[in-house]
Subunit: 591 residues, 2 copies
Amino acid sequence: MTLYKAPLDDQRFALFDVLDAETVLTRLEGGEGHTRDLLDAVLEEAGKLSEQVLAPLNESGDAEGCHYDKASATVTTPKGFKEAFKAFAEGGWAGLTMPEKFGGQALPAVMGTATTELFQSGNLAWSLYPLLSEGACHAMELHGSEEQQHLYLKPIVEGRWTGTMCLTEPQAGSDLGLLKTRAEPDGQGAYRLTGTKIFISAGEHDLAENIVHLVLARLPDAPPGSRGISMFIVPKFKVRADGSLGERNRVSAGAIEHKMGLHGCSTCVMNFDGAEGYLIGQPNKGLAAMFTMMNAARLAVGVQGLALAERALQNSLNYARERLQGRALSGPRYPDKPADPLLVHPDVRRMLLTQRAIVEASRSLVLYAALQTDIEARAKDTAERQKAGELLAFLIPIAKGVVTELAQECVKEALQVYGGHGYIVENGMEQFVRDARIITLYEGTTGIQAADLLGRKILQLKGVGFRHFLAEIEAFCKTHAADESLRGFVGPLAAGIKTWGELTLQLAQRIQANPEELGAAANDYLYYSGYLTLGYFLARGAAAAQKSHVPAPLRQAKHDTAMFYFARILPRIHAHKAALEAGVATLPELA
Amino acid sequence: MTLYKAPLDDQRFALFDVLDAETVLTRLEGGEGHTRDLLDAVLEEAGKLSEQVLAPLNESGDAEGCHYDKASATVTTPKGFKEAFKAFAEGGWAGLTMPEKFGGQALPAVMGTATTELFQSGNLAWSLYPLLSEGACHAMELHGSEEQQHLYLKPIVEGRWTGTMCLTEPQAGSDLGLLKTRAEPDGQGAYRLTGTKIFISAGEHDLAENIVHLVLARLPDAPPGSRGISMFIVPKFKVRADGSLGERNRVSAGAIEHKMGLHGCSTCVMNFDGAEGYLIGQPNKGLAAMFTMMNAARLAVGVQGLALAERALQNSLNYARERLQGRALSGPRYPDKPADPLLVHPDVRRMLLTQRAIVEASRSLVLYAALQTDIEARAKDTAERQKAGELLAFLIPIAKGVVTELAQECVKEALQVYGGHGYIVENGMEQFVRDARIITLYEGTTGIQAADLLGRKILQLKGVGFRHFLAEIEAFCKTHAADESLRGFVGPLAAGIKTWGELTLQLAQRIQANPEELGAAANDYLYYSGYLTLGYFLARGAAAAQKSHVPAPLRQAKHDTAMFYFARILPRIHAHKAALEAGVATLPELA
């Protein structure tokens, strides 16, 4: 079985030393109680649940998978998943960040992100059930009527029910404007939904009494394309006014998908055969409503990359310590043993440090982004709220697109450290590679993230969030300009962001002349932005590690990780710069 | 089911236009008959076998896998594998490159490489059975006595038996010096072998009457480490002097591995319980004997990268043509359809061109390397033979290390083109990703290839092959210096190889001062070398496409692919240069 130990010290360092989360959070509206002591205690409990309940089910859940019974159209989840969900619900985790009026604990979003990392490291497949519920809750919190919130949101917060998001159809993936599911008024205030949705995570399962589907569909008079999409609540079991379960609704799983990984997560084809549904939010504004949850959903997928990479790193580091093979190049390091541990080989350390740098930088990035969510929602100052929202919008495609892509590299290197043993199922590393492969695809592929960053966040929104972020990095560089120990980071960072700004302007001009240039540059612009962003957070980590309370070995480790990154990973920006400057002429038409 | 069409035109272009293989081969000893007509006919037949027999079993073989029966210690291969092997044997493919005296067809090694690409694209898991046999044949051809060759080699060439290579043990992977399997003389000229081997591809199966294991083991008086290893022939069934099968030998499969992919290939734990074996070659020279086959084995694994990437490319290109999703950035290209095909998106073309460039360059590289095998074996001039051997030795770690690594990127991008549909088993793309993940591990991990390139081929052998290769590229650049249409390639190539030479010298000095620097630089040196090597072959492709008989669209395509590569892939050398110059100080010790 693979190891997993909740990386609480690393999380605390990122939260409290790098990001100063206690200061930020306690200044917010209603945040007086969000002290380090409280947050520490929450992390500790989440870590226990992940280590003791979720992590042990990760490999068994993958091996067993979900089972679909055609006759009853029901799905059985792997052994232990139901009990784990019960423990999760009883611990109050389902409503961690939800308002108290729905039975939630009203903790900051950043704590949702930090605990989600722990749960996802423990068991990514399992963690999708509550994650989808969280998305559905946010949608109902923002767009539902009071009655809808009472009937459908509260039971999810209490951990009795779960939720889904039903978007994709066979012909409508990235392009949701193509969706066809119809919603016809039933004359009594409700609607009859007919159509087929695919790739519906947690669409059917045995963890909860009821499932609340949030479904995108078209009203009869809806305009074509993405402006004619509305959102509906479609419960698996209809719900009586008193909250008790009524008859079975006409929505059911037609199949579950056979996937490369995430076998413990039931990914369903959902058939709506005149299912009863209730409009949520405004007619024809469903896509916009869905997109209000997109930041949270995409950030959570970025966290999945971090979570998988963290666990893969823990295991490959442990293997490199224990596996004896070969001798150090400068002579045996442990002459009394038959061979030296893998860790003596510089190239093995390169593979481990690559993972460590990406993991640590990614953690600071996603927690920073989550903090912006809290600031946007609850800062006392309007301007501060707005700025946080703009920063968040800018960082989301980076946190999703780049962290998930670099997570592929991390799990690949982790497996590679094992040599041939990495390919063997029982060693557990190949599961991380299989599980990770979905995260660059769902909630918007990397191409979609890249287009969002360059097309929407930079061009449409005139780079407002980008300018905040650049200013922040500039200020960091200025503050630490004279710091000898950060010299290797501040210089390249300052140079990098100068070029980043120039490239952005050049691209904007080029795209104005030919919109195809957007598609030709977006991917490399995303990576360019991502590598600088991660470098910034590692430099902040090295700076934060200088605080007097940080033990010397940790200080050294943070410095070393940043040094590794700046010397060996950040130079990739030069390759991406060349590629993004190459233009659409280098991507000729293909027959 | 995934598509596969044997890329015969691309193979012919690489062989005859880029590499001028007909001229090279017909000049060799015994090569008079190796005309283009003959070679074309061989390719055509191999293509048919792959398309019609092997390719249709690829997904079913993965789904079914191999089954191990504990009671009989036997392995059943997936449905159809046995019949496919029969067709392969009857077609004479088992002895394609083996001497006529053993029943082979004595075709050039380059034809073995070209047909192996086709078979591996069709069905990588299946193709490992004959591939391992080929390795065993080469070992017996080079090191076996005449009697051994007659008894054990000939039946494999005839396709009646298969062979294996038994190297790895639980504690001895990359470090074979640690192996423990013992071979005790039985007093009658034979030996009794005792020990456990793991990861033995094709170790047990139902495709053939007998299996000839080539086993590394220690004689009782052997010195410790890698200088005390001998090689033995251990047949599954003992063989009588007349070639008929005798009693069952005491070697058996104790289990088969559960692997990430290659499910159709039986990867066995082999138990030797006093199995009868026969020394092949000199005592204590087994490792050296095994290494004489290493070039061929590693090249074949490089070809696996090419083969998987080729098939993944064919499928993702087809999907991008057919899947309608979104609109072109500059306005609808097919306004009468509900959406434009994916191919209109520049970022999708980037993913496809990345694959195409790597596939085409890799194909030229592996065929070029294989041609050196032929020249080394059969050139009439001694100096020419030696030079070819030196070039080959230099290129092997690149052809293995870089082609297999970039194949990971290719299959990843191919899956990515499919979006979420790529994650679904039935679409077949995820199998390519799973199957591909082994090739950077077996026959020496990428780290081993990198150390071989920098440590052995550059430093120990004083870069003799490297200098031949540099001189060849320099000559190419000089020949085409004035060619306007190649300007974008010749300039960067000339600059790149100049830096390559300088970096190599600097590294040699630095490693002399501290051997740990070898391990710190090797991986990035491998990539640096690989990207330039692939660039050279794409530039040669663009130059070859100018020949008058090449149709204009093909000429344009070859130019476009090279242009894409030089603009968007080759700049990665700058990142690798920075990393390899960073030194071991940036890879600090890890606790």
